[in-house]
């Protein structure tokens, strides 16, 4: 017997079942099909303007910094100002996101390649107001490594993509990728990387970015 068959047999023996009981199979199929929602905190159930404000407050609480701009045309200027204030070079690592590529980047350069040591730019799939969380998905548009390797990570998110809770993100992912499917990697990011392992004080920039800059576009 294979290890798989043995483990399944052990589990079934422990539960006193055969695995072919119709009622159990139905219970599992139903749950997988309908994905019932449990308790969803009231905190995020707000209208769009309040939701954006909550997202911002929660993201700042976990030490991200947040800027808001009125439209796509204003993103580049905001990024440029941020880099200048931080004394960072005007070159950004980015993937092949067509939305980002189409923005007017006067004076700034977007390049693919290793983000070790430079700032990187990504576009979020969405964001969750409940906990100030950005949601990024893998792919050539926004490579996952950009989320972790650069010392500074700048993430653009559309105000309309800020939702109240994680459950709404699941619905949107199912809409985009199909029921039961997921992008290879989904990253929930809430603030910059941190560790309290040394000297028992919290420090930013453990393995991931020391700075997380969020730019919210629209909704003004």
């Amino acid at each position: 017997m294979s290890a798989r068959a043995e483990i399944l047999a052990d589990v079934r023996r422990a539960l006193g079942v055969t695995g072919s009981e119709a009622s159990r199979r139905r219970a599992v199929a139903d749950r997988l099909e309908h994905a019932p929602q449990g308790t969803i905190p009231a905190r995020g159930q707000l209208d769009p303007a309040e939701r954006k404000a909550l997202f911002r407050a929660e993201a700042e609480r976990v030490l991200a910094s947040v800027a808001e701009v009125a439209s796509n045309a204003d993103v580049a200027a905001e990024v440029a100002t941020y880099l200048r204030r931080r004394n960072l070079p005007a070159t950004l690592r980015a993937g092949a996101d067509p939305y980002l590529a189409a923005l007017p980047w006067q004076g700034l350069e977007l390049a693919e390649g290793s983000p070790d040591g430079t700032a990187a730019l990504s576009r979020a799939f969405g964001a969750v107001a409940e906990s100030g969380t950005l949601v990024l998905v893998s792919g050539k548009e926004n490579p996952t490594r950009l989320n972790f390797l650069p010392p500074t990570h700048i993430v653009v998110v559309a105000a309309g993509d800020i939702v109240g809770d994680y459950e709404t993100i699941w619905q949107r992912l199912r809409g985009a990728y199909g029921k039961g499917a997921m992008p290879r990697t989904v990253n929930f990011i809430s603030g910059p990387s941190r560790s309290a392992d040394i000297g028992r004080t919290m420090q930013l920039g453990a393995h991931g970015p020391r700075e997380l800059r969020i730019i919210i576009v629209g909704g003004k």
């Binding site: 996952t144 997921m182 990697t185």
Partner: protein
Amino acid sequence: MNAAQFTRRAHLALEDKQLQTALSISRDGFTAQRAAAVARLPEFDSLRDSARDIKAHTLAHLDLYLEAYEKRVTASGGIVHYARSAKDANDIVVSICRRHGAKLAVKGKTMIGEEIGVNAALEANGVDPVETDLGEYILQLRGELPSHITAPAVHLTKEQIAADFRRAHRDLPEGRDLTEASALLAEARAVLRKMFLSADIGITGANFLVAETGTSIIVTNEGNGDLAATLPKVHIVLASIEKLVPTLEDAAQLLRVLTRSATGQEISTYTTFATGPRRPGDPDGPEEYHVVLVDNGRSALLGSEFAEVLRCIRCGACMNHCPVYQSVGGHAYGSVYAGPIGAVLTPALVGIENAVDLPNASSFCGACESVCPVRIPLPKLMRFWREHAFERGLVSVRQRLALNLWGFFAKRPALYRFATRAAVRVLAKIDGEDGRLRKMPASWTASRDFPAPQGETFQAEFARRKSMGRRS
């Protein structure tokens, strides 16, 4: 280390001043942070019910969820392996490494990895396993076991860590300044970054496995596990079979209670959902994605009176709130799992005959159960182990005598009342000023005070109140 000598190690821990300072800092920090996070979320208790129910439902249908999960992993291009024992799991990991000619494996934090001793298995086969969680990395340099689930190096000072780094990072300039924590962090980050970029294999654990999508979930604050899952060409997920949850919705319920219970965070900095290997057109991600599903005693637990312990999501809250753990720290338990969860889980994994002290390492105050996010009745399960130990004659002669003596009195109410009343009077006489006893036989008070009995025995008091109640 083994789980058999709790008492001896506990004594050593109580003498260790540095450990005691570290413990008090982490204890006060974690409990206060959890309380603040709970206070911020009115739905917290309802989420705990939800979390308990989800885990109970999943365990009751575990065979079917395992099958569903495997189907989704396979559909996304990943490979699921099954391991009944620690040895089987290690053999699978080693054979994957061998096939790739791997020399270096970067590791995210994995409790099951520690449970099965995967590092030793890798080393024995020419693969260098490097822990990348900063706390775990430091412990690995020191050759120590973690003392805490979420704060593994909580017992070490900056100075100790600086000395370890000087010893281990020989290629760096000797005169460098390592006095600040920030310098230590920067050095560890730089050393480990090189390893991330050159490792052949990334090994992580999983906080949850999602049957609906074939996804493994890890939570980190550093971003280390996430890099281990992204950069090397092979990602191996080690997970015990009870990590399954049905859907993404279910995972969200559990995530909401996990981090709040662990560190008081609303959510960890990074929550990473990995599903299969690199897709066509992906510029990064592993070329191979393996999941090793480990039983190692779980299916046996599932059919026992200890089944509820399988709901555990390893948040560490029961330790942070345990007066025994707070006094002696994690190493005293001599096992990967410490605190109340260790006291229940370890005897199941290594046999009660090898861990007979652990279920006794409790004052039965109930704090662990009252904070457990999945409502595991830890004191009840510890009591079951005590009964097992007693039935199997594993309890010391002295303890047996004491219990038999108590049993003798308990069966004779009049004698019991007389004896306890006498004891109360004696204790009240040796009381300190403040109603605390600091010296007692059997060294009870070496590490804690004992409230001196005030007034009467419980039975006398109860009888008095009952008659008062009748009169009114």
